[in-house]
Amino acid sequence: MNKNEKFITGNQAIIEGAKAIGANCMCGYPITPATEILEEWAKLNSENPKKYAMIQAEDETSAGFNTIGAILAGAKAFSATAGPGHVLIQDPLSMAEAMRIPFVLFAMQRGGPSTGTVIYGQQEVTLACFGGNGEGLRVVYSISSVQEAYDYSIKAFNVAWQYRFPVIVLGDGYVAKMKQKIKVSKAPINIKSQSFFNESAFRNLRNCFNVESQLAQVLNNDIKEFRAISKKIVESDQKYCQDAKIIIIAHGIVWQSVVEAVEILRKKKIKVGCFRPITLNPFDGVTLSRFAAKCDKLIIIESSAGHLERLVKSNLITHVKIECLQKPVEPIAVEEIIRFIK
C-alpha cells in the first residue's frame, strides 16, 4: 500500500473525508453501527480539541441541536447516527431544513423498526429523504463502499455549504464496519463555512411564523431553490441499460451484489442492465425513465419492504412493468438475484 492508500472501515473513511474537507466539530451520541465515527473523532479531539471540537451529547436530539449551534457559530460541524437515533435526530434536521442550516449527517442503517438489530437494513430511506415535518428539502446520498464513504463525506460538506440544505450520507452497518482499501486524496474544492451572525447587523432568526402566508412565502422560496439545484446535484449510475430488456434497480450495498449478478447474467447472454440512484433525494427519475421506456420490466431489489420501490414509482415518468425482490433487514446475495431473474 502506498501512502495515499488506506485499509480502513467505512466509519473510519467518513472521518478521513471529514478531516480532508476541514470539518472541525462533531456532536454525537454512541449508537451501533455508527459509534466508531464518534470514537474516531474523539481520538482527534483528544489530541487537538480546538481543531476538532466535540460534544458527546445526552442523546441524538440534543446532539443534533448542539450541531446546529456549532454551525450557526461558523463551524463545519456534523453528526452521525443510526436507527432509533436517526429517528430522534429528525427534530433538529427539520429545524436545519427550515432555516437553511448546512447540517451534514451520516446515518448508518440498521434493522428496524424500533431497536430491531444493530446490524443492517435499508429502511431509513424515507426517513432520510422525508423525515421531519417538512417537504424533504435535504440531499441524500446512498453509499455502497468504503471508498464512497470517503468521497461522499467530502462531497456532503461541499454540497451542504454551497447550497445551504441539510445533506445526509446514508450507509448501513455493513459499509460502516467492513474494511476495504481506498485512495485518499485532497478535496478538489473546499467550500468554506461561515458564521450566521456578525456584529455589524443583528439578525433575529426564527422558524416559527404567525400566519400561514408568512411561512408559505419562505417555504415556497426554499422549495423553488431546492428544485433548481436538484438538476445540478442529482446523481445516478448504470450499467448495460442501453440495450437491457430487464433493468434491476438497487442502492447502497445491494448495488454491489447487483452489479456482480448482472456481469454473470450478461456472460450468459441475458439482456439485463442495472440502475443505481446515488442521490436518493433528488432522485434521478429522468435518466431512469429514459432507460425504462425501452425495456420490458424493472426489478427493484432492496433490503426493505418498499422504501426504494416507493421512491422509484413516484419518480418514474413512464409506464413499465415492475417486480420487486424485497428482503427487509437481510442482505441479498448475488445467487439470490440471479435466481430471481431467471
Binding site: C25, N66, G69, G74, N204
Partner: protein, 242 residues
C-alpha cells in the same frame, strides 16, 4: 420636545409595543435583561436563544443576534454555539416547559458539564402560549386546562424546584439563583452576576425568574401580583444559591 420612552439601548424599537400580554412578567424580565446587556456593554457579542412558548415572542425583541430554536432545545443550541465561538455571550431564554419538562435533560447536562452559557428560565407555573396547561412548577390544586379540577401533586409531582436541583450538581464554579419580576432592580443585578459568571469564570449560570401570567391565571394585575408576592414567593425562595 416630546419625551421618549426609556428603552434599553439594545431594544429593537420597531418591534414595540411588544407582543406580550398586558401585565406579563416576560415584559419585565426582558426589560431587565436588556438593561443588563446595556450596562455590561455586550450587545454586539451576545447571542440569545429563544425557546418555543411565550419565549419566542421575543424573537425580534432586541438589536442583538438571536435564534429561535425548537422546544426544549435552546440550551443545546447555545452549548454548541459556545463551544465554537467562546468569545460570545450565549444566553438561553426559556420557560418552565422548555426548561423543566421537554428541555430538562439538556438543562441538567449543560449544568453538569459546566457549559459556559447563561440560562434564564421564566417560571410562571403554567404553559402560557398553548393556553394554560400544567407545568412542572404548577401548584397543588392550581387549575389548568389539563388539570381542570386542580393539579393533583400526589399523582403528578410537587412543584419542581429547579435552582435547588441544579445547585446540587457537581460544579463549583456555576452560578445558580432565583429572582422575581416583582423586584426588577434585584432581577437586573442577578442577571448581570449570572452573565459575569459566564464571562469571567467561563462557567455555567442559571437564573430562574418568578413571573406572572394574568391571561392564563385568569387574574388582573392586583391578583397576579398578590399571587406572586405570596403563594409563589413562599414556595420558590428568591436568592443566590451558589
Amino acid at each position: 420636545m416630546n419625551p421618549i420612552p426609556i428603552f434599553p439601548k439594545c431594544y429593537k424599537e420597531s418591534s414595540k409595543p411588544h407582543k406580550y400580554c398586558g401585565g406579563c412578567g416576560h415584559g419585565i424580565a426582558l426589560k431587565e435583561l436588556g438593561y443588563a446587556i446595556d450596562e455590561l456593554g455586550i450587545a454586539k457579542k451576545t447571542v440569545i436563544g429563544l425557546d418555543i412558548g411565550c419565549s419566542l415572542l421575543a424573537w425580534d425583541f432586541f438589536d442583538v443576534n438571536s435564534v429561535q430554536t425548537h422546544h426544549g432545545r435552546t440550551v443545546p443550541v447555545m452549548s454548541g454555539f459556545k463551544l465554537i465561538d467562546s468569545k460570545r455571550v450565549c444566553i438561553a431564554y426559556v420557560g418552565d416547559g422548555g426548561g423543566y419538562a421537554i428541555g430538562l435533560q439538556s438543562l441538567i447536562t449543560a449544568a453538569q458539564r459546566n457549559d459556559a452559557i447563561t440560562v434564564i428560565l421564566v417560571n410562571n407555573t403554567i404553559y402560557g402560549m398553548t393556553g394554560g396547561q400544567t407545568a412542572p412548577t404548577t401548584f397543588s390544586n392550581e387549575k389548568t386546562t389539563t388539570s381542570p379540577n386542580g393539579r393533583k401533586c400526589w399523582e403528578t409531582g410537587q412543584p419542581f424546584m429547579g435552582p435547588e436541583i441544579i445547585k446540587s450538581l457537581n460544579n463549583l464554579n456555576s452560578f445558580v439563583a432565583r429572582a422575581s419580576v416583582k423586584d426588577p432592580i434585584q432581577l437586573r443585578q442577578i442577571i448581570k452576576q449570572a452573565i459575569n459568571n459566564q464571562i469571567n469564570k467561563d462557567s455555567f449560570s442559571f437564573v430562574e425568574v418568578l413571573s406572572t401570567c394574568p391571561t392564563n391565571w385568569h387574574m388582573n394585575a392586583k391578583e397576579s401580583l398578590n399571587r406572586l408576592n405570596n403563594q409563589i414567593a413562599k414556595q420558590f425562595p428568591v436568592g443566590v444559591f451558589k
